[in-house]
């Protein structure tokens, strides 16, 4: 095509996600480009990463890859990425992206990736009828309040916390707890900067204590449960709360539930914003056609129109902070507000559980430990010790 060719490797393969990527494809093809789709789902992108490695080693990398967080830097260090800084400069991405996010997109100061959305990880979902039945009148704003509410729910025979026992879900809850207990500072020090002192601090112990408590609020059969089944529990009133990123909203909406009426959304305790963002990273392709396509694609991704349509389909909010949110729902609006506030207060932190904060190798150690803690009777002190040691080892 006149506007180049792109091959896009991603793991948004089914339902709403696929539709969302479809928007990008349509937009790209509207500019006479040729879109080659390489969708590889599985393991939250693990399968796609596997394929990516094989492709890069074989010497035919895709044009753009759904790749995020520190992974971008890791690949960049291998020297296999292409810069799209020209596009970024001309469109002034720095001005419209949250700085935390913008840093993640850059390698040595140049943009090598473009974000498509912002997911908030620290969401708490609730069933108002269940809360009512237990006499909980409002969404908790501290973990103590949460514990109190949970105890009430338990008393009336409702599972307080719907949870799926998969490592990444455990880690999601964990990082939300850390944010709630230690605030953005601890979060940043411990989970992003990997400061040994912070990792071994009393606050971390407290966080593990809270996590241990929450383990008690989970039903017996949580192990291995998919997150959407946990969402279903909340939907049906079998459980009171679920702590999960804003993609859970899609599940409610798909079932025809109305925010504020059939379900409630509120941030987890702590005045922060745990950021998860999907982005497309640009690999070193050869041939004018492909390079041209790459540049066009970068511009397209960051265009406000695309950001709006895409995120409407995906259930997240635009990565650009300047996009109008008129057609978005209440939860999304709340998310946006909090985002701006968090940027203001320096309380915006990248998600550890969702690969925004630290290299995958270290994240792996976190997840191993957290999930092991959650599924055993390890003490909080022990957990903190092992965690610190494991992180040190992996660095």
């Amino acid at each position: 095509g006149a506007e180049g060719t792109v091959e896009v490797l991603h793991w948004w393969t089914s339902g709403g996600e696929a539709k969302a990527v479809g928007e990008l494809k349509d937009a790209f093809e509207a500019q006479d480009g040729t879109w080659i789709d390489s969708p590889i789902a599985g393991g939250g992108g693990d399968a796609a990463m596997t394929a990516l490695r094989a492709r890069v080693i074989a010497g035919n990398p895709p044009t753009a890859v759904q790749l995020k967080g520190p992974g971008i830097q890791e690949w960049a260090r291998e020297g296999v990425l292409n810069s799209v800084d020209a596009v970024a400069q001309s469109e002034n991405w720095d001005a419209v992206l949250p700085p935390v996010l913008a840093d993640i997109m850059k390698y040595e100061g140049a943009y090598v990736a473009a974000p498509v959305n912002i997911h908030r990880v620290d969401w708490m979902w609730a069933n108002p009828k269940a809360l009512e039945a237990a006499g909980v009148t409002q969404m908790p704003t501290t973990w103590d309040e949460f514990n109190a509410a949970a105890d009430k729910l338990m008393a009336v025979g409702i599972v307080p916390l719907a949870h799926g026992g998969q490592p990444w879900q455990d880690a999601t809850v964990f990082e939300d707890v850390v944010l709630g207990i230690g605030g953005a500072d601890l979060f940043r020090k411990a989970l992003v900067e990997l400061d040994q002192d912070a990792l071994q601090s009393d606050m971390m112990i407290a966080a593990f204590d809270q996590l241990r408590k929450m383990r008690g609020y989970v039903d017996d059969n949580f192990s291995g449960r998919d997150w959407n089944l946990a969402t279903g529990m909340v939907m049906r009133g079998e459980a009171g709360f679920q702590i999960m990123g804003d993609w859970a909203k899609g599940e409610f909406l798909a079932a025809g539930k109305v925010p504020g009426v059939d379900f409630l959304c509120a941030p987890t305790p702590g005045n922060g914003f745990v950021l998860n963002s999907d982005s497309f990273t640009f690999f070193q392709v050869e041939g004018e056609e492909n390079i041209a396509g790459q540049q066009v694609l970068a511009g397209l991704i960051m265009s406000p129109e695309f950001q709006e349509t895409f995120n409407l389909a995906k259930g997240s909010i635009p990565a650009r902070t300047d996009v109008s949110l008129e057609s978005f729902d209440a939860c999304a609006l709340r998310s946006h507000e909090d985002l701006l506030a968090a940027i203001e207060n320096d309380a915006l932190v990248p998600s550890m559980a969702h690969e925004m904060a630290i290299p995958r190798s270290i994240r792996g150690e976190f997840i191993d430990l957290v999930t092991n803690f959650f599924n055993s009777d390890m003490s909080s002190e022990e957990a903190v010790q092992s965690l610190a040691a494991a992180v040190a080892r992996a660095q």
Binding site: D46, G165, R360
Partner: protein
């Protein structure tokens, strides 16, 4: 048969004599390169600091040190032994048993055979979900039995760290024992009838006929089946991922998931390579003596 060669043999005959070797050698060469070459590559990588991509600067044993400090490794190795032993044992037993039953002039054999075999055709990505439901205490069997009136019945292996590995055995046996059955059935069908007749005359009951006449003849089939099952056991990956995701915690981690997660989730190729080397070493230690005894035994 390998007649000795002699310089006066015409070319055509010489080719004939060497033909078996000509046939085997390219395949052997492929195997040397694609198996042993790659193993060597892996061994080398395990001594480097490879992360997201291979890196060829030598680093010594540091990856092994990391590996050995990882508690998950020991869980994975332990699971491999428990799982392999149970899985291979049970699948062999069921395979033989069903093959023998199906060999009893069962008219609808074709249907039953396909039923036993079909689980292998289904991708475990989906059947894993179904098993997860069936084994989930709140949804599946436990729930079902309790509703039927047995309030005290518990079957919560799936969510119990100590027993979750056995649920993987259940699902794995479900998936593969049908194929073991097929292998044995094919073996049974190639045993000469006359020998079965002789056994009938010798007064052997069905049980004895199968166990002391037929199965010894099928010794090579055992080798095939054991190798196949061992292969499945060692490489069981989909199964664990789909059923338990390695959980609860990492209670059901296996070498294959361990390796995969280090290589591709955590971008630690070096550690992954080191674990692969360790696993291969373990496999060699077990398989080589077995192969040796089998190949000696089947020579005649």
């Amino acid at each position: 048969m390998a007649p000795r060669t002699h310089s006066t043999v015409p070319l055509g005959q010489k080719i004939e004599l060497w033909l078996p070797r000509f046939v085997v050698s390219p395949l052997f060469a492929l195997s040397l390169f694609f198996v042993y070459g790659f193993i060597l590559w892996t061994v080398y990588i395990s001594f480097t600091k490879s992360g997201v991509m291979p890196n060829y600067s030598f680093e010594g044993l540091s990856q092994y040190e990391r590996l050995w400090a990882t508690p998950r490794l020991y869980v994975a190795l332990g699971n491999m032994f428990v799982f392999s032993a149970l899985f291979i044992g049970i699948s062999l037993a069921i395979g033989i048993f069903l093959a023998i039953l199906l060999d009893q002039r069962v008219r609808i054999e074709g249907v039953i055979r396909t039923i036993y075999l079909y689980p292998m055709a289904l991708s475990f990505i989906v059947t894993g979900t179904v098993w997860k439901w069936i084994l989930n205490p709140g949804l599946g069997i436990q729930n079902f039995v309790r509703k039927a009136g047995f309030e005290e019945f518990t079957f919560d292996w799936l969510v119990n760290s100590d027993y979750a590995i056995y649920t993987i055995v259940i699902a794995a046996v479900w998936q593969s024992s049908g194929y073991a059955m097929a292998l044995f059935l094919a073996g049974l069908r190639s045993v000469d009838d006359e020998i079965l007749k002789a056994a009938a005359i010798d007064g052997a009951g069905s049980f004895r006929t199968y166990f002391s006449v037929v199965l010894p003849i099928m010794r090579p089939v055992f080798l095939s089946t054991v190798i196949i099952l061992a292969h499945l056991a060692i490489k069981s990956f989909d199964l664990v991922i789909a059923l338990t995701g390695g959980g609860p915690g990492y209670a059901t981690a296996m070498p294959a998931t361990f390796m995969y997660s280090f290589a591709f989730q955590r971008s630690e190729l070096g550690v992954a390579a080191a674990s692969a080397v360790m696993m291969l070493a373990t496999v060699i230690a077990i398989v080589v003596p077995y192969l040796y005894s089998e190949l000696r035994g089947t020579k005649q």
